[in-house]
């Protein structure tokens, strides 16, 4: 839940009868025994939004105290609420996190210009949240005008984070760097940016010193290195610096010398020759970085470079090598120096042997992500990772609880063993890259694998399934996955029954995203009330029809039932369905290809 949407009248009765006979409450003061100020002070210490949601449901006084004291709001679906409703309820917000498009838009399943515009939000914030300090956007459409408005409207603005957004250019960034005098964080990640030039970096004023986080790894244009150098030397509090690919090793060295206190470093391209002098200089610079706990970047790394990092690895907790096609021996040699590693992202170029090294060297590992090194279906077949690698990690890393694993083969037995070894999984995302592929040893469906996962991992919150799966998988999920919040399904299931089982079970389900499964209207409509307790449902390439969707829309007026209509669609099938609860009513900014039913 993003924040609670009370559907029942506020309870005005006192929940806690006042034990003190000396209480001088007047009879009109029915609720809390605490003065409002005290309550607000206490509640202001609450950070968890789940706790805050609970608090707001206790009674009207607590609801009010909570809303006045809340400074950060998280909106998981920008269309679930309107900026007007938000600002009315929470007057003192300093920090907003907004998420827009459905997650499958990352994989090109949502057409461009679908929506999720930050514009209407910024207009309202500009008048209501004058003291806004932080804005974090994910999968939103942001324009350069929006960024300019942002830069000019909020004198205290400190932190901007844009992840998987689109619609803006580096000109927009220049507005931010020019005008935001108090900026501490500029974090630009994986966006679809119109990258015109690196001039935005030079727009930081010469007396600007407050930057703590700078991540421009996403951008390809060269920035003025001297300007960057001056910036880094001025900003003594700089903790996170992630540069783009164009940074040379020489430049990296100079930056490291200026900022040895960095906590997180993202390197540029490392595919350069190193003279022995450069080698030892860099090694020494890394040696001086005593606070480094995250390393990323590593575009085009060579073996020769890696040993330079070894001194810096001793305190590393997060290593992101997911852009570096390392071999197993290279990874192995590196990991020997990273005993404290908790999070590791790699490419499957490291193969099973590389993962064995993970198991042997990283006992504290909690999160592992293995991405495919290249198009796995091109003519050049690369080895990648198999169930053996995952098994090896599970034997060595008992604290593992988050895995994202792209592989070409898997077996039920391996997964069962893996979860025996690591029963504390909270996030289990397995992608067997060939759709509908069975257990390659037994040729059976992968039902028992995911059955083992949900039965054993009682803390499981997020699950992505793959391989050949029948309805049995979903029976297991519905029956056992009591803490599951997010489920991603593709090319799976045999009938409506599969989806029905999930909807009937999984009491904590919030996000369900389905593609290319044989689930139709019967499944969609089997537990339609459930959708109001969820953030959203996505179904594409399934068997739902427009009529089924219309029925759902009819039955559940507080849901937005949207169908994305593709050209060539015959008007009968609902090829892409997006259902989400909302207190803001139907979208007012829907493009013509989005039908709200």
């Amino acid at each position: 839940m993003d924040f609670s949407l009370p559907t029942e009248p506020m309870n005005h009765k006192r929940k806690n009868p006042d034990p003190s006979p000396d209480s001088d409450e007047s009879t009109t003061q029915l609720s809390s025994p605490f003065p409002d100020e005290v309550l607000e002070r206490v509640l202001s210490l609450l950070n968890s939004r789940k706790d805050r949601n609970s608090v707001s449901l206790v009674c009207k006084d607590w609801y009010d105290a909570e809303r006045w004291s809340r400074t950060h709001v998280f909106i998981g679906n920008c269309y679930s609420v309107s900026p007007e409703i938000l600002t009315r309820r929470f007057p003192n917000i300093r920090s907003v996190t907004l998420k827009g498009k459905p997650r499958f838009s990352d994989f090109d399943l949502v057409p461009p210009k679908w929506g999720a515009y930050v514009h209407s939000w910024l207009l309202v914030f500009a008048t209501k949240y004058h003291f806004l300090e932080e804005l974090r956007l994910k999968r939103m459409t942001v324009s350069d005008e929006n960024l300019k408005l942002l830069a000019l409207s909020f004198p205290n603005f400190k932190a901007l984070s844009l992840l998987s957004c689109d619609g803006f250019s580096t000109d927009g960034l220049a507005s931010i760097t020019t005008h935001c005098k108090n900026l501490t964080e500029l974090d630009i990640q994986e966006n679809d940016i119109d990258d015109k030039s690196g001039k935005w970096l030079s727009c930081f004023p010469e007396n600007f010193m407050s930057l703590e986080v700078l991540n421009f790894a996403n951008l390809n244009s060269d920035v003025n290195f001297e300007a960057l150098e001056r910036l880094v030397s001025r900003c003594k509090s700089l903790k996170v610096l992630k540069v783009n690919e164009n940074m040379t090793l020489e430049q990296l060295h100079r930056l490291l010398v200026l900022a040895p206190h960095l906590r997180e470093l993202g390197t540029g391209s490392l595919l350069q020759e190193l003279t022995p002098r450069q080698h030892s200089e860099l090694k020494s610079a890394f040696n001086n970085c005593k606070n480094l706990n995250m390393l990323s970047g590593f575009y085009e790394v060579t073996s020769i470079f890696l040993p330079v990092l070894y001194p810096a690895c001793t305190s590393l907790t997060f290593l992101n090598l997911s852009y570096a096609a390392l071999r197993s021996d290279e990874l192995s040699n590196l990991l020997v120096h990273c005993p404290l590693l908790q999070r590791l992202w790699v490419l499957d170029s490291v193969e099973d042997e590389g993962l064995e090294a993970v198991g042997s060297n990283c006992p504290l590992l909690e999160e592992l992500r293995v991405f495919p090194a290249s198009d796995p279906f091109e003519d050049e077949i690369l080895h990648g990772v198999t169930e053996a690698g995952f098994l090896a990690v599970s034997y060595g890393c008992k604290k593992l609880h988050y895995v994202l694993y792209f592989c070409r083969q898997m077996t039920n037995a391996a997964v069962a063993t893996i979860v025996q070894n690591c029963p504390d999984f909270t996030h289990f995302r397995l992608c067997i890259m060939n759709p509908r592929q069975p257990d390659y040893q037994t040729n059976e469906p992968m039902d028992e694998a995911f059955g083992a996962v949900v039965k054993t991992c009682t803390k499981l919150r997020r699950l992505a399934v793959s391989g050949l799966l029948t309805d049995l998988t979903f029976e297991y999920i519905g029956k056992y996955a009591n803490n599951l919040e997010t489920l991603s399904v593709a090319f799976a299931g045999s009938s409506d029954r599969g989806m029905e089982c999930v909807l009937k079970g999984c009491p904590k389900l919030r996000k369900l995203e389905i593609r290319d499964c044989p689930f139709g209207n019967a499944a969609l409509l089997s537990s339609f009330r459930k959708y109001e307790s969820m953030r959203s449902l996505w179904m594409s390439g399934c068997k739902v029809t427009m009529d089924g969707c219309r029925l759902l829309a009819q039955e559940m007026p507080r849901l937005n039932v949207e169908v994305i209509r593709e050209c060539g669609n015959d008007g009968f099938q609902a090829d892409k369905l997006y259902v989400y609860r909302s207190v803001a009513g139907p979208r007012k900014d829907a493009p013509s290809f989005v039908l709200t039913l």
Partner: protein, 311 residues
């Protein structure tokens, strides 16, 4: 797929008991049911396809795989989509989209985030009937683009590096994770060729330049494919078996080693002098002897013609 009929608990055969709490009037029910009658024929086509895929998943080398199949068998599966794939989606019978709507309609409006290489996929040997699935595997466009760009320049750098740097890096384990365009599909100056083995879905690559004779090559391949459960240590670490004369070159084995030459013909490895072999080989295949026999005549003819030196 009876579950799709009798959707709303109303009439019709094969209803799913208590499947929903929807309360609608009869006319809607019957209308929707009619819809499902139309749909059920689609639905029932589902299971046979699943079986078909199962069969293919198992033994990729079986059946008509002998057609000089440029695309690897994996090419028939879903692939990471790039913009250039969109046009061909229309023409291919997409196995993963068994709806009335062709996947093309999806492709037509899909976003343009994926890198659109100008090189067309058409000539790269994707076998006819290759299904190309939008947005699968689920990797963010940004990551895919980065990998593609990185791989191309990495290969360029690598080739430069080979000239400059020393031989301390074991050549047989050089980074080979590159995405190449059509022109570079053949082995580059590094001497890597693809090796596939019948019945094994995942192929490997070997650097032919690391070998000076057939025996050494065959030994390496045997290590790769026949001892796949043990870690192959190319530094000559613990090998479980003493080096023996290669089975692959011995016609009594269950498998034979073949290669595709520049003219697209499949030949038995070992027929020509090593040097000549190096210049003409495009890729290798470890084939079941039974299959090789099936085309034995052609092989034998060529063997007779070309056998000039014994191995």
């Amino acid at each position: 797929m009876d579950a799709t009929l009798g959707l709303l608990g109303g009439g019709g055969g094969g209803s799913v008991g208590g499947s929903s709490g929807a309360s609608t009037n009869e006319s809607t029910v019957s209308k929707v049911e009619q819809d499902f009658v139309a749909m059920s024929s689609e639905a029932s086509s589902y299971p046979p396809e699943a079986e078909l895929e199962l069969g293919l998943g198992l033994s990729l080398g079986s059946g008509g795989a002998m057609k000089a199949n440029k695309g690897c068998a994996w090419g028939e599966r879903g692939r990471i989509l790039t913009a250039k794939d969109f046009p061909s989606v229309v023409s291919h019978a997409s196995r993963f989209s068994d709806r009335a709507n062709p996947v093309a309609s999806v492709g037509a409006v899909s976003g343009t985030k994926r890198a659109a290489d100008s090189v067309s996929q058409e000539g790269t040997g994707s076998p006819p009937g290759a299904s190309q699935v939008v947005g699968w595997p689920p990797i963010r466009a940004y990551r895919m683009n980065s990998l593609v760009n990185q791989a191309k320049s990495q290969r360029a750098e690598e080739e430069k590096e080979i000239d400059e740097t020393d031989k301390s890096n074991d050549p047989s384990k050089k980074k080979i994770y590159t995405k190449t365009d059509t022109a570079a599909k053949e082995k580059g100056q590094l001497g890597f060729v693809k090796v596939n083995m019948d019945g094994v879905p995942i192929g490997r690559k070997v650097d032919l330049n690391a070998h000076s004779c057939y025996d050494s090559l065959a030994q390496m391949l045997e290590d790769m494919f026949f001892r796949s459960t043990t870690t192959v240590n190319s530094r000559g670490g613990e090998k479980e078996q003493v080096t023996q004369p290669s089975k692959l070159l011995d016609s009594s084995s269950e498998f034979v080693l073949t290669y595709e030459d520049k003219e697209g013909d499949w030949m038995l490895v070992g027929d020509v002098p090593w040097g000549m072999f190096l210049t003409s080989v495009k890729r290798l295949r470890i084939m079941r002897t039974s299959e090789a026999n099936g085309l034995g005549t052609r092989f034998q003819e060529r063997n007779e013609r070309q056998r000039s030196k014994p191995i």
